[in-house]
């Protein structure tokens, strides 16, 4: 059974999956506690439009998606800051722009529909070596930024107003958090697909929150849960021939259900 590890596509999936999953769960803790869980969902829809733009103009889709999704994340932030629009409504607006752009571009071009729709559900087993390197690099950037801004992010998440009174530039921290989310969303599209990206941001975090007391412990346990889900999900999907992204998400859901039984609250 262990022989399946010899396949290079499985090795690539494990390596990229491990990095992406830890970036997702670490960031996810902040997003869930800030009640921004669905920003991942909105940004993945922006990703749909961005990937369509990439395919339409012949640019490598994930490379096209990175700047466009980052731009989408800033627009969400600015709309909710400047206009009289709540954050969730801003996410809804930008999400719709992403989907609409994708649908219109796919109708204009008859050639890339199959490619575009493959991104809806992702497939980490088809990840290329370049994408593995990109995943590792971007995940490390996300984790390093969280490491260096750990206390600023913690304070702004716990009580934004108080954080300001200690000199923390909370506007900059909010921009950082949404940009990191945008990066992570693009990374995760390959693994879980546009439809399921937000599950990988939300589920490990909410599972960890059931089990821990202490913020650092929650981040650690979230990482472990996420890693277990990815490794188990990829393995199960390989052996019983199931879609990988969806299997990873359902393993995450099962771990969340188990955590409810063991909940400390």
């Amino acid at each position: 059974m262990i022989e399946f590890l010899q396949y290079s596509f499985i090795q690539k999936a494990f390596i990229a999956g491990a990095f992406i999953s830890i970036a997702c769960s670490t960031l996810g803790i902040f997003l869930v506690l800030r009640k921004m869980s669905l920003i991942g969902d909105g940004l993945s829809h922006v990703g749909f439009g961005a990937i369509a733009i990439g395919l339409f103009f012949g640019i490598y889709p994930l490379i096209a998606a990175i700047p466009l999704v980052m731009l989408g994340s800033i627009v969400i932030l600015k709309i909710s800051e400047k206009a009289k629009v709540y954050g969730d409504a801003a996410i809804g607006i930008i999400s719709a722009v992403g989907i609409s752009t994708g649908v219109i571009l796919s109708s204009l071009s008859s050639g890339f529909n199959v490619d575009l729709f493959s991104y809806l559900f992702g497939n980490i087993l088809s990840i290329s070596s370049t994408e593995v390197i990109l995943s590792i690099l971007l995940s490390i950037i996300v984790l390093l930024m969280i490491y260096f801004f750990y206390w600023d992010l913690f304070s702004a998440t716990f009580d934004e107003e108080y954080a300001k009174t200690t000199g923390i530039k909370t506007n900059s921290i909010n921009i950082l958090l949404t940009l990191l989310t945008a990066l992570t969303v693009v990374l995760t599209v390959k693994m879980a697909g546009i439809m399921l990206v937000s599950a990988l941001l939300i589920l490990p975090a909410v599972t960890a929150l059931q089990l821990t007391n202490g913020f650092k412990k929650a981040m650690f346990i979230g990482g472990v849960v996420s890693l277990i889900s990815v490794v188990t999900g990829i393995t199960i999907s390989f052996f019983i021939n199931l879609p990988t992204g969806a299997t990873i998400v359902l393993v995450n859901v099962m771990l969340f259900m188990l955590s409810l039984i063991n909940s400390k609250r």
Binding site: F149, T157, Y162, G167, G214, A218
Partner: protein
Amino acid sequence: MTTMIETKDISVFYGHSQALKEISFIIESGDFVGLAGPNGAGKTTLIKAVLNLLPLSTGEIKLFGIQQKKFDDWGKIGYLPQKISTINPLFPATVDEVVMLGLLSQKKWPKRTIKQDQTVINEVLDQLGIIDLKKRMLSELSGGQQQKVLLARTLVSNPSILIFDEPSTALDPESRETFYALMQRLNKKDGITIILITHDTASIGSYANKLLYIDKSIIYFGMFSDFCKSEDMNTYFGKFVQHLICHQHS
């Protein structure tokens, strides 16, 4: 006497509605100022403006003689906000992690914890009698205990000015007395300047030396002793209320 906070003609608007009108005052080192006024008078707005949490429409603020916009030594000002109800019950922070947030104003990027931080945190928790709660989750504690933890967060950076926004509302009468006694000790013994927003106008005179009474604009700012004798205040409040605000003042 050093000038700690100086405001000059500050006004704040929320949309078209004016929350503060041309407020000017000077708070000096060692002052214990009771900030009072009716509901919606702008007490919290005034404090938020001083702390740079709200933009000014007009006027200017100096902190320790420095223009507020250029001021960066925020560790010198400790702030205890009004609502502990804003604490997210899902947030998995332990007491020592929350108190650590009070030390962030003294740290340069990238902010890291050092051993000495734990010593300082232990000292302040010990001082407030909650050292045994150090590793407990904040969300598991009672309202009074949470208030003490937030007070520890405020005190841990050893500030020169403390600003409290109606801190006693979540406390039982006994804890309230202890809290007032602690404030008085911090003011008298350690020389910390205190601004206390309060509805408790009947007892603030026992602790504070100055009264700042506002209702969008300043109604009175000065020594409590002068307030008691002021003819203007007699006219504004009537004898009964003036006496109520004064009567516990020695």
